[in-house]
Amino acid sequence: MSDHTISIAVNGDRYERAVEARKLLVHFIRDDLDLTGTHVGCDTGNCGACTVLLNGVAVKSCMLLAPQADGAEVTTVEGLAPDGELSPLQQAFSEHHALQCGYCTPGMLISATYLLSHTPQPSEEEIRRAIQGNICRCTGYVNIVKAVQAVSGQD
């Protein structure tokens, strides 16, 4: 079956790799590039733990084949803190206890980053709708909403 040589820019670094067509983008990111910040949760497109930015748009990376991202730019959670320094959003998550076990956090951060990229001052309703595709079983979402409000200057 078909192998594809794909070229994907992840967090600003371009990677060229041969992949099987059946490989999901999330496995390419985790297994081939060893960027394990992007999590596999439900693997059915529900939980959002695998959310990444694909050309600046939030998508679930378990719902794409890796060759579909050929030529694209991908941002994973590692790309939010390229120099190891937390982004203001990540800092706000830390300060507002917006995570407990942390499993959903990479996807939450990417979805919130996407929201803030097009809506810098979101309402609580907009924040809640923006993370609707990200399931968190620890926090009850309250502190996640607070963190996003805080980083957008609304606390």
Partner: protein
């Protein structure tokens, strides 16, 4: 999840896609992938060739000529939500698209994929049936345009045959019609238990009910509550029962939601 082995092609034109789809019986068109990829994970579908339509720019976009909207099959839900053409010509399309799943799914999922997968719980089959949309299908022999009653054939089955692709959906502009949508879902913006779309014109309601049969059930009635409920009852729906709702409850919801969709149509 490891999928079954497959070949992958990303054609740049409709003609090329049709050629690829026609050449192999096991080929399958991939639109937004928000259903098909899941089905492939469970190996309920194991296409040996996936023809990705995401590289075909002519399948994307929304145009309005005053009389109707033309929406390319690969137009995403979020593109519909954000479209000024939709907002002015037929805003119900955006209002309903906004309630599909979540942001990430709406960034990938397409109107064409929604109708071609024709899951009975999908949003666009009843909505397009109520709005009297027309769908254009292209194959090696050329293109044809069908109405929704010809398009939706059964659960997961449509008039799109092997070797064909849906290219666009044409929806009449609103004019003096009023459109409504009512549903009861599994959680907010979740899967429908019953979905109802209604369009009211000159005192008559055209109502399309989803989730109660293999294809949308269309009834027409005078646009008052009693007449609408009577018409839905007269349709003698035989909906499926599952863990979420009994058949009797779905029948009840169909009446209530039809009346609500008509009442709230604007």
């Amino acid at each position: 999840m490891l999928l079954a082995e497959l070949d992958y092609a990303r054609p740049g034109s409709i003609e090329e896609a049709v050629k690829l789809l026609a050449a192999r019986a096991d080929a399958r068109a991939l639109a937004g992938g928000q259903s098909l990829v899941n089905v492939m994970k469970t190996r309920v579908a194991t296409p040996e060739l996936v023809v990705d339509l995401n590289g075909i720019e002519s399948l994307r976009g929304i145009a309005s000529d005053g009389e109707a909207l033309e929406i390319g099959a690969m137009t995403t839900y979020n593109a519909i939500v954000d479209s000024p053409e939709v907002a002015s010509a037929r805003p119900i399309l955006a209002e309903v698209a906004r309630t599909i799943a979540d942001v990430q799914v709406r960034n990938r999922g397409t109107i064409g994929g929604n109708v071609c997968s024709n899951d009975p719980t999908n949003h666009f089959p009843p909505l397009l049936a109520a709005l009297e949309a027309e769908l254009t299908i292209q194959g090696a022999a050329g293109e044809r345009t069908v109405r929704t009653d010809e398009f939706f054939e059964g659960v997961y089955m449509t008039a799109v045959q092997p070797g064909e692709v849906l290219t666009k959906v044409r929806i009449p502009a609103k004019g003096d019609a009023r459109d409504g949508w009512a549903s009861v879902t599994l959680g907010r913006d979740g899967t429908g238990i019953v979905n109802v779309a209604a369009t009211v014109k000159g005192g008559t309601a055209r109502i399309a009910i989803g989730c109660v049969a293999a294809t949308p059930v269309v009834v027409t009635a005078s646009a008052d509550e009693t007449a609408v409920k009577d018409a839905v009852r007269a349709a003698e729906l035989d909906p499926p029962a599952d863990v979420h709702a009994s058949a009797e409850y779905r029948r009840h919801l169909a009446e209530v939601l039809a009346a609500r969709a008509v009442r709230e149509a604007e």
